[in-house]
């Protein structure tokens, strides 16, 4: 499956998408749900073929399953982050395991949605990620709140190298809470008397912190969750 290489939305402003999932049935399901709202330029069922297809097609958005047989979605992002920074990843998962989800986000995915998402919502999410925005599902917001909430409780034993990155501002917390409660960005904006753009910037800032924070507490949180 080849198509002209190059970034940016395809003809008619449709985002160009590659679907990476090890279940063929799921891939075709997603493809039909996306319909003609997006242009599906490639598919892959594992890490190595995914890297090849994405490098070749250079899509706007990669719909990436968190769980793949050959190392998980995280491996795909890590492999391509250096060479194809313009490709954006939207993680898709049926998994509840927070450590996997946080792992993919920390690797560089721009958002996370569950596989139960409806077709129109998925199209919307793809468009937003293609446009440079973030997509936080309520579950991801919950995970992030949980991860950062666990940090202060770790006590003063581990000094924070970069407090700016290691803590959420009250406003970010508020936004995440509303996302977790099931609010859309628009509803959050109305609720907090701010613009949708501001909501978006708060979420992006949270994402940045999540990706850049080097605090090992985040890792530790994930490890502890894995044991739980």
């Amino acid at each position: 499956m080849t198509s002209p290489a190059g970034a940016g939305p395809g003809p008619g402003g449709r985002p160009r998408v590659v679907i990476v999932d090890d279940h063929g049935l799921f891939r075709s399901g997603v493809r039909s749900e996306l319909g003609d709202q997006v242009e599906v330029v490639g598919e892959a069922d594992d890490v190595t073929p995914a890297i090849a297809v994405i490098s070749e097609c250079l899509p706007d958005v990669v719909l990436l399953d968190v769980h793949l047989p050959g190392g998980g979605g995280q491996a795909v992002i890590t492999a391509l982050r250096g060479s194809q920074p313009q490709v954006r990843f939207l993680a898709l998962s049926a998994s509840d395991a927070p450590e996997d989800v946080i792992g993919v986000i920390r690797a560089g995915a721009r958002g996370y949605v569950t596989k139960t998402i409806s077709g129109p919502d998925l199209v919307d999410a793809v468009r937003r990620v293609a446009g440079g925005d973030t997509v936080f599902s309520p579950r991801l917001a919950g995970f992030v709140l949980d991860a950062f909430a666990a940090l202060p409780a770790d006590g003063p034993g581990v000094p924070s190298l970069d407090p700016e990155l290691d803590q959420l501002t009250p406003r970010e917390r508020e936004v995440l809470r509303l996302i977790a409660r099931g609010y859309t960005y628009k509803e959050i904006a109305r609720e907090l008397y701010i613009s949708v753009k501001t909501v978006e910037s708060h979420v992006s800032s949270v994402l940045r912190k999540l990706q850049l924070s080097t605090r090992h507490q985040l890792t530790r949180w994930a490890t502890e969750r894995r044991l739980a």
Binding site: D96, A141, A180, R181, G182, E224, L227
Partner: protein
């Protein structure tokens, strides 16, 4: 004696018996065929069956049989024959039907009866005339009991075994044997005296001596059989309790069955989500354990060893399973449940069920956050919403029950809704200071 309407339980019956003119009527006569009772039997259930059929008190019927048996043994014979001929409740036929096919049993009964007849003939030859009046009923009793013994179902054989116990008991352990021997000796002396007075009574003497004789005979029987009667009464209580326990167990089996089946159905629907399947299986295991070993009904949050997050997951799973509407649950932090938080969860569950039932939304989200000072749960749907001023009464009742539940524990409820805007129920419960998050283990 007019039949009166069916009374309540046993206690009510006793009260009525004390205070009512219809003294021994317990309930109107039954309309079904005459059957021996399995529930309320001391022997074959004949008395209880007759009582049920005629509406008489069962103890009255029993007393009738005993008195008749004491006077002529015909009462006992009638009882045995009834035992043979009246089918038990739920049984296909009577014991006599089976006994007819039991050739060895018939032969045994006939043999025993003929042996007795010989004894009786000898007795009458010795002019012990009083014995011959007992002859026929005794023959019937012995033959009948033999047939019942051989052909009755196991539970009735157990009853016979129990009835035969005091006779067999003579051969049991030393301590009880000594006591039994003492009892038998005392009873024999009393019985001898009583029978002597009864038989030697002359018409010219007053009836006093005969009455004394009867009293002595009764006393002898009481001494001989009293302890055993007590034990039978105790056994009956134990048996009844065992039956109640068995019913409870059956109820439990049914409930567990239901919940297991539901979980299996959910697992099938989510076969491609291993994580959820594991969660479901875990939740089910916890529920089963709680039910089997701690006696908590499935679905109740009370007393379960849950954390808040597990409780929210439980609500999610149960509501999804029961109403087939997806519930998105997100929890931040976790803590152990106390009574306040259980009330919070119960309110959250009610709010969730409300949303699922009334909002028409395709999905309902629950968000629960544990903070140091409080626990907050939000239940949100994007359904039709409602005008709080014009709430239908049934829904108002539910809202009030959520409110009341929370208010009792010092929590707060805020409902935000408008027609077409969906509904969000915010529940907050303060936490006692110093109650931090439990260790994640």
């Amino acid at each position: 004696m007019n039949p009166e309407p069916a009374g309540p339980g046993r206690g009510g019956g006793i009260l009525r018996r004390l205070g009512s003119r219809h003294t021994w009527i317990r309930h109107p006569p039954g309309t079904g065929p005459l059957r021996r009772s399995r529930e309320d039997r001391l022997g074959g259930g004949v008395a209880a069956g007759l009582a049920a059929r005629t509406g008489l008190d069962v103890n009255l019927v029993r007393t009738g049989f005993v008195v008749a048996a004491l006077f002529s043994l015909f009462g006992a014979a009638a009882y045995v024959v009834a035992w043979l001929l009246i089918p038990a409740e739920g049984a296909d036929g009577n014991i006599a039907g089976k006994a007819l096919a039991d050739r060895r049993g018939m032969a045994l009964a006939a043999g025993l009866a003929s042996l007795l007849v010989v004894v009786l003939v000898i007795a009458s030859a010795l002019h012990a005339g009083w014995l011959s009046t007992l002859a026929w009923p005794l023959v019937i009793c012995v033959g009948g009991v033999t047939l019942i013994w051989r052909n009755a179902p196991p539970d009735e054989q157990a009853v016979l075994q129990r009835l035969a116990d005091p006779l067999l008991g003579l051969a049991q352990g030393s301590r009880s044997r000594r006591r039994t021997v003492v009892r038998v000796v005392v009873a024999a002396v009393t019985l001898g005296l009583g029978l002597g007075w009864l038989l030697t009574g002359h018409p010219d003497q007053s009836a006093l001596r005969q009455i004394a004789g009867v009293i002595l005979v009764v006393a002898a029987i009481a001494i001989l059989l009293g302890p055993w009667w007590l034990r039978i009464a105790r056994d009956l209580v134990v048996e009844r309790q065992a039956r109640i326990r068995a019913e409870e167990r059956a109820d439990m089996a049914a409930r567990v069955h239901d919940s297991v089946l539901q979980t299996l159905a959910l697992i099938q629907r989510r076969a491609d989500h291993p994580q959820q399947v594991i969660q479901l299986a875990r939740a089910q295991e916890r529920e089963l354990r709680a039910w089997l070993f701690d006696g908590q009904a499935p679905g109740s949050l009370d007393g379960q060893d849950l954390t808040l997050a597990a409780g929210v997951r439980l609500i999610q799973q149960e509501v999804e399973a029961q109403h087939e509407v997806p519930v998105e649950a997100v929890t931040v932090g976790d803590c152990d449940l106390d009574d306040d938080l259980r009330a919070l969860l119960a309110a959250a569950r009610e709010a969730t069920v409300n949303a699922v039932k009334w909002s028409g939304a395709p999905v309902v989200s629950i968000f629960a956050e544990v903070e140091p000072g409080q626990v907050a749960v939000f239940v949100r749907d994007r359904g039709q919403g409602f005008d709080p001023a014009a709430v239908p009464p049934d829904r108002k009742g539910l809202a009030q029950s959520i409110n009341a539940r929370m208010a009792r524990r010092g929590g707060t409820v805020v409902v935000r809704t408008a027609p077409g805007e969906g509904t969000e129920v915010s529940l907050t419960m303060p936490r006692p200071a110093g109650d931090r998050q439990p260790g994640r283990s």
